[in-house]
Symmetry: none
Subunit: 271 residues, 2 copies
DNA sequence: TAGCGGGTTGCATTTTGTGCACCCCCTATT
DNA sequence: AATAGGGGGTGCACAAAATGCAACCCGCTA
């Protein structure tokens, strides 16, 4: 890191960082003086800079306490760029998984209804291929990607999603009904990754883990699949590798590792 | 909205907005020239500003295409910007509304000036959804979410908020002026939920109810929207469902069902 | 009433951002 | 091999914006 010359823009951005600091968040935002002290700047210019940031929606002010916090506009930016970033940040992670960690085929996919749409694929000898938005759909219930994507869903939500879906397709070990599927999802939830063993196709095993965005929502899944004779024995290891990579990708999307939906549901409201 | 005087900071932030635009995202990011043209600025300064933003992590550059896109830092900030309680408690409720109660698209949104910013969107599984609404701004006066968010405002406050806003956009039944809007808000206030019938778009109906925090202040709105031929007949029912869910969410945020805005004004201090 | 914490504004100063011209690099085209 | 054009970066003189100090407003309280 070369020592960056200061600039007004850099100083303005530093204000955002300060407002996103643990202390500032914990205290429900900071006022002009506190912020100026923290940044070692004069309060006047901090006041003026904040007004510009507030006009643009990057910060907002609590009317009563006069404190500033990060504004909704930042949220809007992130939400709109999330998909783009998923692909951009996913590609190198997938490449690394293929080349170094696992040496088997890796996919990045999203949920489309009750099916799984693959966005990125990389096979050991080849390069990353971006499958266009009209890629092939596979079922969600008998694939590891699918179960990773469903990992936060409760039983009743599964009922609704899979109402009318036929479970009599796929490999020999595919789930036979929704309850069966639910139990396998519960297992995946406990372990943090999903596995399938000859469910989608005979002779094929796979592991997958969910990718979460900055809201904690599951938005995609990373998965590895390979012939059972090659990957079968080390499937748990592969699952952990995939989970680690998925968490890394989630982190790059702003996930802080705390907001699980399953947790959010029951932890009501701390001060 | 008064014309804000330009400032270098404002111009820098505008670059971020441009990078989050539909076009830029769809094209995998924009290069310096394209950005400069879009902003009507000289490419030299755009280049320099982007370097600062890149150093700070607010944008990042694709090594091959040389295009910039929104960077990890924005996602990190967004994780803070999202009101954790609102989103954490809101997600499961929205999910339930989609899966069980209504089976149509549900949004959670907040007021941003006189527009509505959508934070969470949940789509029923059968519908093909390509447009991501999260992070998008829509008008407040001709949407049900907007009217739910404005439900506590008095006539004079509406005058101030919508001064200078053009009412000649939207669907066939959109309010034609502020008085018209006010009457529809009064109706929503009496019923506890707002509805629109082909106001925002032809063929679209929607219902929304306000979410209140512990002070009784309206901080968000839950809303359902669907094609008229599907939801039109049971719109009042949907409105009541939405209201029940919004009240439940409000309760989880500490609302006791009694406090209203008049009281909230003087009950100051948040913890 | 004076003092204090917190915030904003006026204004002279100067740092910064700006735009122009120019240069680099790559790749089609002739 | 020469050339044109797209995309991106840099040097420099100039104008504009940020800066910091002091003054001021406001509400609170000792």
């Amino acid at each position: 890191m070369a020592d960056e010359p200061p600039s007004s823009l850099r100083r303005a951005l530093a204000l955002l960082d300060a407002l996103a600091s643990d202390d500032a968040v914990a205290q429900g935002g900071w006022g002009v003086n506190r912020l100026a002290a923290h940044q070692g700047r004069d309060k006047s210019q901090v006041s003026r800079t904040l007004r510009i940031l507030a006009d643009a929606g990057y910060v907002e002010r609590d009317a009563e306490s006069m404190t500033y916090r990060i504004g909704w506009h930042v949220f809007a930016l992130a939400a709109r760029a999330a998909d783009q970033r998923l692909l951009a940040a996913g590609a190198p992670i997938i490449r690394r998984l293929v080349e170094k960690d696992l040496g088997e085929r890796i996919h990045l996919s999203v949920l489309q209804g009750n099916e799984v749409l693959t966005l990125l694929t990389e096979t050991p000898p080849h390069a990353v291929q971006t499958v266009a938005w009209a890629g092939r759909l596979v079922p969600a219930h008998n694939t590891s990607s699918g179960r990773a994507l469903l990992i936060d869903l409760e039983r009743d939500e599964l009922d609704r999603l899979f109402a009318g879906v036929r479970f009599d397709v796929g490999g020999p070990n595919a789930p036979r009904n929704i309850e069966d599927l639910n139990q396998r999802i519960v297992l995946a939830r406990r372990r943090g990754y999903a596995t399938v063993d000859e469910e989608f196709e005979p002779g094929l095993v796979a592991a997958a883990a969910p990718v979460r965005d900055f809201r904690g929502e599951v938005i995609a899944a990373l998965n590895v699949s390979a012939p059972k004779f090659r990957l079968g024995a080390r499937l748990p290891f592969a699952g952990q590798q995939i989970k680690a990579a998925a968490d890394e990708l989630s982190t790059q999307l702003g996930w802080d590792g705390l907001r699980h939906r399953s947790l959010a549901a029951r932890s009501a409201v701390p001060a």
